[in-house]
């Protein structure tokens, strides 16, 4: 029961990090172009995420099925894992979530937009390998449907930034071409409105897609421990709690990531902001309609790069893009590794004590990273300051050295 409580708390914590990690995907460009004031942008995004989360009436309980084998096709947990109040399954889920949260916080500290769903899947995969072995992971799907780690996670991640950047590039080129004879001030005012609209669509779709995953996981934990029996519905309080967690996270705003996406990658103007946001919104909505689930983060980043490529004279900071790419590549294995280690610690201490220890590790790591972030805080007040390549395209530790050097010079 205590372990179940910790799983639920950790799931909600993940949902919260998911929210603030992804605020940037919808709002970075609107904030960067000045279409919305920073605080207004996060508030709007938070409200739309909340609405989106509540709108997801049909929640699939089979979230984990595409990558690991701890549930059957109806969503019921594997009976071998439900003995003893579901402790085996709860430990895997708890360790997986811990891995995902720690990775999410670390990339946030570095200001890198990495995919929260990759972190979640990576964490679950790592904990499953540690707990049940390699064969419990569905690596490559078989048959005529996209499935498994390769089909559902890796291939979409490779394609999505490409698709989004082509769309954004085309949109940007068209917009600049069509409005060549329109005065700049007039044009920017108009495009800001369009941008707010498309950014809102992204937030709504995000709330719907992402809060669902956590709802599914909490319900799975409840079923495994015998607290819930309906395989076709999610308890209302779970839905409310997840919706609130993701909205609160969004409202807090991952300012570091917003800064990287909005200011670091490309210097964007209002028309580019509209092109990027429309490309993201269209790609996300179309792909989830076709059942080809893409990560909002990869799409949004691809769009912003695309809009930099589509405008003559705009420059993409490839050093920043390269850092992001590296972060994407290592998100899945890193979250998995942390989760596997966490599982091992929890398993060898065993029982309730094990779960408490890994929960404490999570709280400790989160606290440390938060404390570290206060050294060079990024908030709504400085999120749109000019980008200083020397100080920001480095690790925080080096940034501190650069700051120290500046002090000496002064």
């Amino acid at each position: 029961m205590v372990v179940l409580g910790m799983v639920i708390l950790t799931s909600l914590a993940f949902d919260f990090t998911n929210g603030f990690h992804d605020t940037a995907n919808a709002m970075a460009t609107s904030i960067a172009t000045g279409a919305l004031k920073p605080k207004m942008a996060v508030a709007l995004s938070a409200v739309l995420n909340l609405i989106g989360a509540f709108l997801s009436v049909q929640v699939a309980l089979t979230v984990t099925n595409s990558v690991i084998r701890i549930q059957d096709s109806t969503g019921a947990p594997d009976p071998r894992l439900t003995a003893n109040g579901g402790s085996a399954l709860l430990l895997i889920v708890l360790a997986g979530l811990v891995g995902a949260i720690i990775w999410n916080l670390l990339t946030w500290l570095l200001g890198l937009p990495s995919s929260s769903s990759h972190a979640l899947f990576g964490g679950l995969i790592g904990a499953t390998i540690a707990g049940l072995g390699f064969s419990a992971v569905k690596w490559v799907g078989t048959g005529t449907k996209l499935d498994g780690v390769v089909g559902k996670v890796i291939l979409p991640a490779l394609l999505s930034p490409l698709i989004a950047s082509v769309v954004a590039m085309t949109g940007t080129w068209l917009i600049y071409r069509l409005t060549k004879k329109v005065a700049e001030k007039f044009r920017n005012d108009g495009f800001r409105w369009g941008q707010i609209g498309s950014a809102s669509l992204i937030s709504l779709a995000h709330g719907m897609n992402d809060a669902q995953k956590t709802m599914g996981i909490i319900t799975l934990a409840l079923i495994a421990s015998g607290q819930w029996h309906d395989l076709h519905a999610v308890p209302l309080w779970v839905k409310g709690a997840c919706a609130t967690a993701i909205a609160l996270g969004t409202f807090i705003g991952g300012w570091r990531i917003i800064r990287t996406l909005g200011k670091g990658l490309v210097e964007i103007d209002s028309p580019q902001g509209l092109a990027a946001d429309s490309a993201s919104a269209a790609t996300i909505i179309v792909s989830s309609h076709l059942g080809f689930a893409l990560s909002t983060t990869h799409v949004a980043t691809g769009s912003i790069i695309g809009t930099g490529l589509g405008r003559k004279g705009a420059q993409v900071r490839w050093a920043v893009a390269l850092r992001m790419l590296v972060a994407w590549l290592i998100t899945l294995p890193s979250a998995g590794l942390v989760a596997a280690l966490t599982w091992a610690v929890g398993h060898f201490i065993g029982g309730l004590a094990g779960a408490i220890v890994i929960f404490a590790i999570l709280v400790g790591c989160a606290g440390y990273m938060f404390w570290h972030s206060r050294k060079n805080p990024v908030g709504h007040h400085n999120v749109t300051d000019d980008w200083d390549a020397r100080a920001e395209e480095v690790l925080p530790i080096e940034a501190e050295q650069i700051e120290a050097e500046k002090e000496v010079v002064r």
Partner: protein, 99 residues
């Protein structure tokens, strides 16, 4: 290998649909902006001496309406899917159908 093929197929579908919506609609929006500037004349256009053309305003309204309708349909679709309905176009009229 079949997974790669499936992903590419899905990717191409997404690409074309997203191009139509994600680049097409902003282009119509841009066209609306252009028409609005044409309609307003004066400082709204690059050449400051431009004269106002009322027809531009009408065109702008048409363009913006297309965009707004598309967005409303988009939201309806998102909401509908969440509720377990899918939006289908019977003879171009959007209707809901229970999945």
């Amino acid at each position: 290998m079949s997974q790669l093929w499936l992903a590419l197929q899905a990717g191409v579908q997404v690409l074309f649909a997203a191009l139509l919506l994600g680049a097409g609609l902003p282009a119509i929006f841009a066209l609306g902006m252009r028409s609005l500037a044409y309609g307003a004349g004066g400082t709204a256009e690059v050449s400051v001496t431009a004269t106002p053309h009322p027809v531009g305003k009408v065109l702008a309204v048409v363009c913006f309406s297309v965009v707004v309708v598309a967005i409303v349909l988009g939201i309806t679709w998102i909401v509908g899917t969440g509720m377990g309905y899918s939006l289908v176009f019977d003879h171009l009229i959007p209707t809901f159908r229970k999945k």
